[in-house]
């Protein structure tokens, strides 16, 4: 019999999040024929509710109830999972900020291989899993072979595996809370601080002009501000622009910023990392302008232009202004 497959279930407000069904789909694609066990940790009624939710999709759910697990602290989850998972386990985690926190150290503690940010499955034969990853910000894909003989911790990119229907399987919930007794962490959760909106709310805008690293210099931001103004659009940006402090954090689109649902999205000098695209929902009309014809943004865009922003943007602004007179 093949080694057991597990999936860590993130949950909020008593509901398993979208990653739960995606991990189930990933488990079936990566390890055909497997029947993964859901791992659900938390505390109190919210945990019970999340377990029932998970049991609608997974045949078996392991529940870990402990006050200290009310907030998912990787420093508590790691020793707990290292204790309860059998040798050779294949563990799937979402490639989220929790998965990135938990996964690498968990693989060390389990003596397992670590395969992060998987985007596709190719084959699983004997002790070798062949899967797909991306490198250099999505510019290239890599086929990787992972040795499963000591087990594996695999993190799965959000959206890479299509979730199936929630299903109505009445899975069995096994209470493993006794294993969580005596947990103590050397990292203690204090609080969450939400990003301040500061009067800017790009999530409600229909038309967004978004600027990325390709704009080159801080001084050039004015060019896209003028274009946004001429279009009557709101200005937003990708992560490097916020890191450089050229625009404020509430204007950042992406998994570590805001999730937007515009009708039209004009991406200027944005390469199109999965973190950025993860923040654009609702299939807008996406126009991408980039000097690199191989930029991944062109795979996601409806219309693409390979051009120098410093020439094209002022020209477009001028035409819009001329047209509105």
């Amino acid at each position: 019999m093949d080694a057991a497959v597990f999936a860590y279930i993130s949950h909020v407000d008593g509901k398993a999040d979208d990653s739960a069904l995606e991990l189930l789909a990933a488990a079936r694609a990566l390890f055909p024929g497997s029947d993964p066990v859901a791992l659900v940790a938390g505390s109190g009624p919210a945990l019970d509710s999340a377990c029932l939710h998970a049991a609608a999709a997974f045949a078996q759910v392991w529940k870990f109830d402990h006050e200290a697990l009310a907030y998912p602290n990787a420093e508590l989850l790691r020793p707990l999972l290292a204790k309860v998972l059998p040798p050779g386990s294949r563990v799937l985690l979402p490639h989220s900020t929790l998965g990135m926190d938990l996964g690498p150290g968990l693989s060390v503690k389990l003596g397992a291989a670590y395969l992060p940010d998987v985007v596709g499955a190719e084959s699983c034969e004997g002790d070798t899993l062949t899967a797909l990853r991306q490198e250099f910000n999505g510019q290239v894909s890599a086929r990787v072979a992972c040795d499963l003989s000591g087990g594996a911790v695999v993190t799965v990119r959000s959206g890479a595996f299509r979730a199936g229907a929630p299903g109505a399987a009445a899975g069995q919930v096994v209470d493993r809370s006794a294993d969580a007794a005596g947990l103590a962490a050397r990292r203690r959760f204090v609080k969450l601080v939400k990003a301040e909106a500061g009067g800017i709310d790009i999530t409600r805008e229909d038309v967004l002009v978004s600027v990325g690293r390709g704009i080159g210099e801080k001084e050039n931001i004015a060019l896209v501000e003028e274009l946004a103004e001429a279009m009557g659009a709101a200005l937003c940006c990708s992560r490097p622009i916020v890191d450089a402090k050229w625009l404020e954090k509430p204007r950042q689109v992406g998994t570590s910023g805001q999730t937007v649902r515009p009708k039209v999205y004009l991406a200027l000098g944005i390469s199109g990392s999965f973190q950025h695209l993860g923040g654009i929902k609702g299939s807008p009309f996406l126009v991408a302008v980039n000097k690199n014809p191989k930029a991944p943004i062109f795979q996601a865009a409806s219309v693409g232009v390979v051009a120098d922003l410093l020439e094209l943007v002022p020209e477009l602004t001028e035409r819009i202004r001329a047209g509105s007179k």
């Binding site: 693989s107 072979a145 047209g323």
Partner: protein, 255 residues
């Protein structure tokens, strides 16, 4: 506080168009530099030492080229460099690198180890593995560090731009997210000042560490198959602007 910052020399993602030939990345024309995240880690270490005193050591696993990266970070203000170099280290995977770095940490007396949150391969794994090997607490994607008595208050950047605040005991390992600070500019003068600084080199024997055979191997690289992709516009700047204007009008992009 004695701080060790792990840095890596990588192809500069902003400067390179990555090309694949026969399943491998063409490296001849690549521009290399220090991994972007690592600059933030070094800057943070320097700022911590400016506040509470101590020393910043930058360390890298690699060959002579990695030494250039160390010098650049020393020009930023790191007090010393340390190069971990051995033919046995070639081809080390994330766990291999973490094993080599863990040996270097054990040879010193560090209170805090920083890494960049991720590098060119996007794996974001070395910091977490290093912490596990040392059995130190770990926090990833850190965008705030405050030094308190015996522990740090750290912020992690989680989904939606929310900051998760925790207290973490020392010694610990933190992986640093971009945007935590503004890495200082390194001028030619700074580089010249450290040009002749001696950088000790430790090999596998000195470290007593040999990375195990990688359990994850790259079989090949390929350029992702072009899906439907974008409808590409062509023409002069004026023609492109004209076409874009019409499209934006038609799709409700102008108000």
């Amino acid at each position: 506080m004695e701080i060790l910052v792990c840095v890596k020399r990588v192809p500069d993602a902003a400067e390179n168009e990555i090309t694949v030939e026969a399943g491998a990345i063409k490296t001849d024309d690549l521009v290399f530099s220090v991994n972007e995240w690592d600059n933030y880690a070094v800057e943070e270490a320097i700022q911590i030492v400016e506040r509470v005193g101590g020393n910043v050591t930058v360390v890298s696993v690699g060959d002579g080229d990695a030494e250039e990266v160390l010098r650049r970070e020393m020009a930023m203000g790191a007090n010393q460099g340390l190069l971990l170099s051995d033919p046995a280290f070639a081809g080390a995977d994330g766990l291999g690198l973490a094993t080599i770095l863990a040996a270097a940490v054990r040879k010193g007396a560090y209170d805090l180890v920083l890494t960049g949150a991720l590098a060119d391969d996007g794996a974001a794994q070395v910091g977490g593995m290093l912490a596990a090997l040392l059995d130190w607490p770990f926090a990833s994607l850190v965008n705030l560090v405050e030094v308190n008595d015996g522990h740090l208050r750290v912020g992690r950047e989680i989904e939606g731009g929310t900051q998760e605040v925790s207290d973490i005991d020392l010694p610990c390992v933190l992986s640093i997210q971009t945007g935590i600070n503004e890495p200082r500019y390194v001028g030619l003068r700074g580089i010249r000042k450290v040009a002749s600084a001696e950088i000790p080199v430790l090999d596998a024997e000195a470290l007593g560490a040999r990375p195990a055979a990688p359990r994850v191997r790259r079989l090949d690289y390929f350029v992702p198959p072009a899906g439907a992709g974008a409808d590409m516009l062509t023409g002069s700047t004026a023609e492109l602007a004209g076409q874009l204007l019409e499209l934006l009008k038609a799709k409700g992009g102008l108000k």
